[in-house]
Amino acid sequence: MKHPLPLIWRMIPEKYYIMGSHCSTCKNDFFPFRQICPNCRRLGKVSEKRMPPTGTIYSFTEVSAPPSGFEFESPYPLAIIELDNKVKILAQIVDCPMEKIKIGSRVTMRFRRVGDDDEESAISYGYKFALIEDSASASAPAPSAKADKPAKASKATAAKG
């Protein structure tokens, strides 16, 4: 899908850093960024806030009939992730076979190229998520220090799943 350059530029904070918003009145976080807090409206005090880069898979699917621009990636896994501040976000899951993706798996953000733009438009980048391998089983907490370390225990985890 072709995106105009200004759109790609405007979306940089959101797509590169998961920049959402926080309302200091109701203490809720939101993603995507909202100027108006849906709970407090004019009583809300909204400011920018980066969302946590780690979370848990809430639901997932594998897309086999892609929209134009995604043909070369198909089939690809897509998930709704509940971030550690309870905000949910939709993203692709990368760097792992479909069989390893489970509801409850811990994931962490990756920065990737998104879509397959034609040669005339700019390349867009954004967040995708990868499994935190050491804790791919449902309930294990996320050791965030290990998040980027490739794990070797994947076979055992996959067999269990």
């Binding site: 899908m1 995507p32 086999s64 709704i80 939709l90 993203a91 867009s124 954004g126």
Partner: protein, 386 residues
């Protein structure tokens, strides 16, 4: 507000209409509705037209004016209404409000979509605009994918199975055998659905409504004047609409469409009825899981019981409640702008006893349920013979 009734309705044949253009389809359905109502074109005072994506697909915008022009109804006001797959539903409600307010006595409401001329990957982009373009479609989320994400949660939370979902498609194909306007009039089995390839797991090809060309139209009239035109008008006794977050991920709960629940509660309150009073309903089965969630959210079955109820046949023709007698979106086809109006035409036929071999016995109260996007818009109407 005064009462509003449907005095006539008509459909174009749904399907791959390569022989017909966007405007041809409008004329086919519009003419059928006018003839059915037994009125003259000059008695129509305004037009409301539902259409989602003519600009993106056909390249044609300004379709309100196109409707008026090619139906030969200039210079009456004509307005396009858009709410993704609920475009027909909101157009119908706009017409309802225009008559209920006393502004007009007779209005025409139509819906149309021309979709099969185009590559399915491009149609996926057009339909993807019904969700949050910047946060769903941007990452390759198609509509089957969004409903698949809901299906996966429904399976986890309530034990709904792929067979239960498949049974909705099987039942809808069975109903469509008797609908001459339907795109698919062949019966299918649960095995057929289970063996059709994945589109977005766990949803398979036969869990998904097809890409369709089609149009639908109804003529609305103030109830106090409706019997001048025909002896059996069908009154819209409630028309309710609700909104929810544009993106699926912002919902608190993904095993229901909250907008459906809000609109349904409002419609039941206005009509002073309960779910038990509904004899026949056309619900928005864009995907099989959507039918299961709809029959729960509309109150016909308890949350989580929609899957087993479908598998047990409780939603079949003349069972506990007859759901999607037309064949639903799955088998009649889903020309997105037309669907909300097509549902109203089917309910009109049911309440008038004109539904042929798919007639629900003693149907007195009917309902339509039309959804836009992944549930960001829902329109629920209740109907009764005047």
């Amino acid at each position: 507000m005064r009462g509003v009734s449907i005095i006539g309705g008509g459909l174009s044949k749904f399907g791959e209409r390569w022989d017909k253009s966007f405007r041809d389809l409008v004329v086919e359905a519009g003419t059928a509705a006018v003839i059915d109502a037994g009125i003259e074109g000059r008695e129509i005072q305004a037009i409301y037209g539902g259409c989602m994506s003519s600009g993106r697909l056909v390249g044609q915008e300004h379709v309100g004016a196109l409707f008026a022009d090619f139906l030969g109804l200039n210079p009456i006001p004509a307005t396009r209404c858009e709410a993704a797959c609920a475009s027909g539903g909101v157009a119908l409600r706009a017409g309802f409000l225009a008559v209920a307010s006393g502004m007009y006595d007779v209005v025409a409401v139509g819906g149309v979509e021309k979709m099969t001329d185009f590559d399915s990957a491009d149609v996926a982009i057009a339909l993807g605009g019904a969700g949050d373009m910047e946060h769903e479609l941007f990452f390759g989320a198609t509509f089957p994918a969004l409903y698949a994400l809901m299906a996966r949660r429904h399976m986890l939370e309530y034990g709904t199975t792929e067979e239960m979902m498949a049974s909705c498609s099987v039942k809808n194909h069975k109903n469509a055998v008797h609908n001459i306007y339907a795109q698919y009039r062949n019966e299918i089995t649960i095995e057929d659905v289970m063996n059709s390839g994945y589109i977005a797991s766990p949803l398979k090809l036969l869990d998904c409504s097809p890409i369709t060309d089609g149009a639908a139209a109804v003529i609305l009239c103030a109830s106090e004047k409706a019997k001048k035109f025909r002896k059996d008008p069908v009154e819209i006794i409630a028309s309710s609409q609700a909104s929810d977050t544009i993106s699926l991920s912002n919902r608190h709960c993904m095993t229901e469409l909250h907008a459906t629940k809000v609109a349904a509660a409002d419609a039941y309150r206005h009509a002073r009825l309960t779910p038990k009073d509904i004899d026949v309903a056309e619900v928005h089965d864009c995907f099989s899981i959507a039918e299961i969630m709809a029959i729960e959210d509309l109150g016909f079955f308890e949350k989580g019981k929609g899957g087993p109820a479908s598998l047990e046949g409780l939603t079949a023709l003349n069972s506990e409640i007859s759901i999607n007698t037309s064949g639903g979106l799955k088998a009649t086809g889903h020309p997105v702008g037309a669907t909300g109006i097509k549902q109203a035409v089917e309910i009109m036929w049911q309440l008038q006893g004109r539904a042929d071999k798919r007639q629900v016995n003693d149907a007195e109260i009917g309902m339509t349920h039309n959804v836009g996007g992944s549930g960001a818009t829902a329109v629920v109407n209740i109907y009764k013979r005047l």
